[in-house]
Symmetry: C2
Subunit: 507 residues, 2 copies
C-alpha cells in the first residue's frame, strides 16, 4: 500500500506523511513545537543510550545545567550572541495577575531577562571558571541531555522545531593539542553512531569559516545525504580554543606555575537525527527503522479468525516469545512485542509496517499446526526476501542473524546512494549552474534527474558565496577524505584552489 | 572526619554541606536554579531507569510534549491556573535588538505569552482530545521525562529549585473505576521504588481536600520522614476525574454508542527525591548512597607509595576488576570504578567516602603480597563492620551479598527511625501544642528531643487549619494503614472524628 504522497510525486509532503503514518511525532498547539510520540521517542532513546555509553566509555560524565541563562552572561562572547540573538526565547515575568478586565496577564517583571538556552557554552563556561584552578583539575569532560530552544520561523517536524532535545558536550583542557584531539574524537563517536547504529553513512569534514559555530575557532561536522540529494548536518564538534575561556576567565596554573587560559570544546547532536533517519531509509510505504535503533525489532501479530483457536494461538506465541528471549542480536537481547490490542489484525500489521518495525510475524492457526513462523521483513533490501515461512526452530535460531543482515544491508544501500550521487566531474561555473538548475527531488527517481552533492575545488574566497546563495547551495564541508592535494581551479571563481569541498543544498 | 556542621548542631547547614562535600549539586548564576553534578545526576539516572522499567512493564509509553504552553490553554481549568499563577515563568519575546545605547534588549513580542510548563495537564489534555474517539482508543498510558519550572522564592538545592527534573505520567480511561485503579497502581510503583531502590520507607495515603493538586478530584501521596522529623512529599498520584476532560473535551464513544467524557490521571516524582535520599541516609561524615541507586557500588583506590610497585598494584587491581565483572548484586552487574586520577590517595578515599560510595577498596603493596582486599564499608549500619580485610576469593565471592546486605540494613535503619518517631499518644490540643513547641531537629539527637510525626484523629473541619499553620504543621495525609475505624475526638477541635491523619512539619 503506497502512501498518498511518494518521494517522486512530492518529497516534502511524503516526509510529512511518513511521520504521520508511522506515528513518530505531530505538530502541537504550542507554536513551532512538536509532540514526540512513542515510536519517535523510542528511536531517540536508542540513539541516546548508544551515545551515552560511548561518552561514558571515553571518560565523560553527565551534568545538568539550568536552562535559563541570564542575558548578561550570553553577551560575553560577541560572535556568539550575534549568532543567536534573532532566535531567542526570553523569560521576562515570573507570575500572573488579573487586569481590570479580569484577564490574566504577566506580572512580576524580572530584574534581568533570562534566555531559554539555545546552547549552554556561556553558563557552563562560568561554572568551569570556578572549578578549574590547577592543571590537575583538567581535563573536565562533561555532557548533558537537555531541551533547547531556537526560535525557528519555518518549523518542520524533527528537522527544525523551536524546542528540540539534544545532548551537548563541553570539555576543558590544558592544551590546544588535547582539546583538538577531543574535538576529533567526538566527531568520530558521532560517525560511528550514525553509520553503525542508524545505518546512515556520513561525510566527515570541517566547516568553512563562514559556516562555523558562532564563537568557535573551528567546527567539524558529519554530513549525511537525504533521499532528495540534500545534505543534513547530522552532528557538529567545535574546537573553541580560548574564545570562551578568556571572557569567562577559565584559567589554570600550569605545571610551570604560570597562569594560562584553558582550551575548550563543545559538541552536539539532536532529535533532528530522527528526521535524518527517516529521509535515509523510509520508502513509499512508510518508515523503515534500522534494527539497532528500532524500539522493537520483532513484532508478533496474532491472527485470530476463529475465537475457539485463540488459546492455541496465544500459547504458540508464548513459545515464540520464549524462543526470542533466548536469542540476541548485536550482542543484546532482542526487543520484541506481541500486539494484543483488540483491533483488526490487518490494521495492526499495517500500523507496524508503517512504523518500519524490522520484522513482523503474523501468527495464525495454520502456523500453530505446522509449527511454522510467518515473518514479514519490512526493512527488506536487496537480497533479503520480503516474506519467509520458516519452521519454528529455524526462525528462532536465525532471527539474530537476520536482524544483523537487515542492518548491514540498510547501511550498504544508503552508502551506495551516497557514493552514486557525489558528482566529481563538475569543473566550471556553467556546468555547476546547469547541475543545480534542477530542483531537488528523489535521487533514485527513474523519470527525472535531481542534483545532490558536488565534490570540487573551492578557492576559499568568500566573495563567491552570493553565487551559491542564488542557487540555494552551500558549502557543507571540507571533507577529510576526497582530498587529492592537487592545485586546480575553483569551480566558482576559476581562481587557483587546492581544497576539495562538498557543495549541496541542505536542511 | 566529621563535617563542619552536624545534624545536631545545625541541620539545615549540615544538609547543604553534605551536598557540597559529596559534590552532588551546587547553586548557579541562574537565580534559584542548580547545577546537578555527576554524583547527583547519576543517582537520579538510577531512579529514572528503575521507574522507566516499571512504567514500561505496566504498559506506559514515553512521549515528549512541548515545554511552552500558550497562556490561554493554562486558563481552561480555574483551580489549576489559580494554583500555579504565582510561580510561572513567562516567555514574552522571541529575539534581541540593540537599543539606542547599544544594549541588547528583548524584542519580537509574542502574540500570546507562553508559560514554561510547571506541569503539563493542560497541553496534554488538548492532544488527548484529538486522539481519543472511541472506547477502543482507551486507555492511553503515557509518561514523559522533562524539566519543569515553578518560581520558588526560597530555593533549596534538590528540595525546591525553580527548574527541576521530573517525570509526569498522564493517562486516559473509559471509566472512573479504571482511572482510580491506575492512580493507586502508580502510587504503589512509587512506594516500591522508594522502599526497595532508595531504601526510604514511606507512608502511603490520601491528601486531605485542602492539600490536593489544583484541579484534582483526589491526590494520593507517599510521605517520607527526614532525619529532622519533617515530612517530605516524595511522590503524588492524582485522580483527575473529568475535571480536565470536560474543559478540554476529551470524550469518546462508549460501547453503547454514547458520547462520554473520559477519566484522567496524572502522577509524578522529581529530583527532590535526591534531597530526600540524602536526608534519609547521610550522616555527620557525608552521604551514604544505597547500593541500588549508587552510580558506583565499589570504588577501588590504588595506594601507591613506592613507584616501583605501581605495576604490581595495578596488575592486582586488574584481577580484582575481572573478579567484580563476574559478580552481580540485585540481579545486575556490579558497578565499579578504579580511581586512577593523579591525586593523593587519602584525598581520593575521602572524596568517595563523602559521596557515600557503598564499598571503597584501598589496594596497596601489602594487599598484593598477601592476596588480600582491604575494603571499607562506607554505608555501615548496625552489624556490618566498617573495615574488612578479606582474601581475594572471599571478597569477590561475597561482594554481591555484601551490597545486598548494606541495602537492606539501610532500609531497616530508616524504617526503625520512622516507626520510633510516630507519636500515637497525643489526643488533645494542649499536648499537641506542647509536642510541636520544640523546634525540628535531628530526631536521633541524644541531648534534646525534637518533634516528628503525630498520628491522630482529625474531624476534617478546615476551620482547624489556622491552628496548625500557627505551629508550622500540616496534615500530610490520611494514611491507608493506621486506621482503626473507631470514633474518637479530633485532636484540634475535640469534635467527633473517625479518620487518623499524619500531622507533621514538612519540606
Amino acid at each position: 500500500m503506497t502512501l498518498r504522497h511518494t518521494r517522486s510525486s512530492n518529497y516534502p509532503e511524503w516526509y510529512q506523511e511518513v511521520i504521520t503514518v508511522s506515528n513518530m511525532a505531530e505538530g502541537s498547539v504550542s507554536p513551532g513545537c512538536m509532540i514526540i510520540k512513542p515510536w519517535g521517542y523510542g528511536i531517540w532513546s536508542r540513539i541516546q543510550r548508544t551515545l551515552d555509553e560511548m561518552f561514558s566509555a571515553s571518560g565523560h560524565e553527565n551534568y545538568y545545567f539550568p536552562m535559563f541563562i541570564p542575558l548578561s552572561f550570553f553577551q560575553k562572547e560577541a560572535d556568539h550572541v550575534e549568532g543567536f540573538a534573532k532566535e531567542m526565547a526570553l523569560v521576562t515575568h515570573s507570575k500572573l495577575r488579573k487586569n481590570e478586565e479580569g484577564e490574566l496577564i504577566p506580572d512580576g517583571v524580572l530584574e534581568e531577562p533570562l534566555v531559554v538556552r539555545p546552547t549552554s557554552e556561556t553558563i557552563i563556561a562560568d561554572a568551569f571558571s570556578k572549578w578549574v584552578v590547577s592543571y590537575r583539575d583538567l581535563p573536565i569532560l562533561m555532557n548533558q541531555w537537555a531541551n533547547v530552544v531556537r526560535w525557528e520561523m519555518r518549523p518542520r517536524l524533527f528537522l527544525r522545531t523551536r524546542e528540540f532535545l539534544w545532548q551537548e558536550g563541553h570539555t576543558v583542557h590544558a592544551s590546544s593539542v588535547e582539546a583538538e584531539a577531543e574535538t576529533e574524537q567526538m566527531l568520530e563517536i558521532y560517525r560511528i553512531m550514525c553509520e553503525e547504529s542508524m545505518a546512515v553513512p556520513v561525510i566527515t569534514g570541517e566547516k568553512p569559516v563562514h559556516e562555523k559555530f558562532p564563537g568557535a575557532v573551528k567546527t567539524l561536522c558529519i554530513e549525511a545525504m537525504m533521499q532528495d540529494g540534500k545534505a543534513l548536518q547530522a552532528g557538529t564538534s567545535h574546537y573553541l580554543g580560548q574564545n570562551f575561556s578568556r571572557p569567562a576567565n577559565i584559567s589554570f596554573q600550569n605545571k610551570e606555575g604560570e597562569r594560562e587560559y584553558a582550551y575548550t570544546t563543545s559538541w552536539g547532536v539532536s532529535t533532528r537525527l530522527v528526521g535524518g533517519l527517516l529521509m535515509s531509509h523510509a520508502d513509499d510505504e512508510g518508515m523503515n527503522t534500522p534494527p539497532r535503533v528500532s524500539p522493537y525489532q520483532v513484532i508478533i501479530v496474532p491472527m485470530v479468525k476463529d475465537e475457539s483457536k485463540r488459546e492455541a494461538i496465544m500459547g504458540y506465541i508464548s513459545r515464540i516469545e520464549e524462543g526470542l528471549r533466548s536469542q540476541s542480536a548485536f550482542g543484546e537481547k532482542i526487543r520484541f512485542k506481541t500486539d494484543k490490542r483488540n483491533k483488526d489484525s490487518v490494521d495492526k500489521y499495517w500500523e507496524w509496517a508503517r512504523k518500519g518495525a524490522p520484522v513482523i510475524c503474523e501468527i495464525g492457526e495454520r502456523d500453530v499446526l505446522g509449527e511454522k513462523v510467518m515473518s514479514k521483513i519490512r526493512c527488506r533490501i536487496n537480497t533479503t526476501e520480503h516474506k519467509k515461512l520458516l519452521s519454528f526452530n529455524e526462525f528462532i535460531s536465525t532471527i539474530g542473524k537476520l536482524l544483523e543482515t537487515i542492518q548491514s544491508e540498510m547501511y550498504e544501500k544508503a552508502k551506495v546512494r551516497l557514493k552514486k550521487n557525489i558528482r566529481t566531474d563538475i569543473k566550471t561555473m556553467s556546468s555547476f549552474r546547469e547541475y543545480f538548475a534542477e530542483k531537488s527531488g528523489w535521487v533514485d527517481d527513474k523519470e527525472r534527474s535531481h542534483p545532490a552533492f558536488v565534490l570540487g575545488k573551492w578557492s576559499g574566497d568568500e566573495t563567491t558565496l552570493p553565487l551559491l546563495k542564488e542557487l540555494g547551495v552551500s558549502i557543507r564541508c571540507i571533507p577529510f577524505s576526497y582530498q587529492d592535494g592537487e592545485e586546480g581551479e575553483c569551480i566558482l571563481s576559476g581562481k587557483p584552489a587546492i581544497k576539495n569541498v562538498i557543495f549541496a543544498r541542505s536542511y
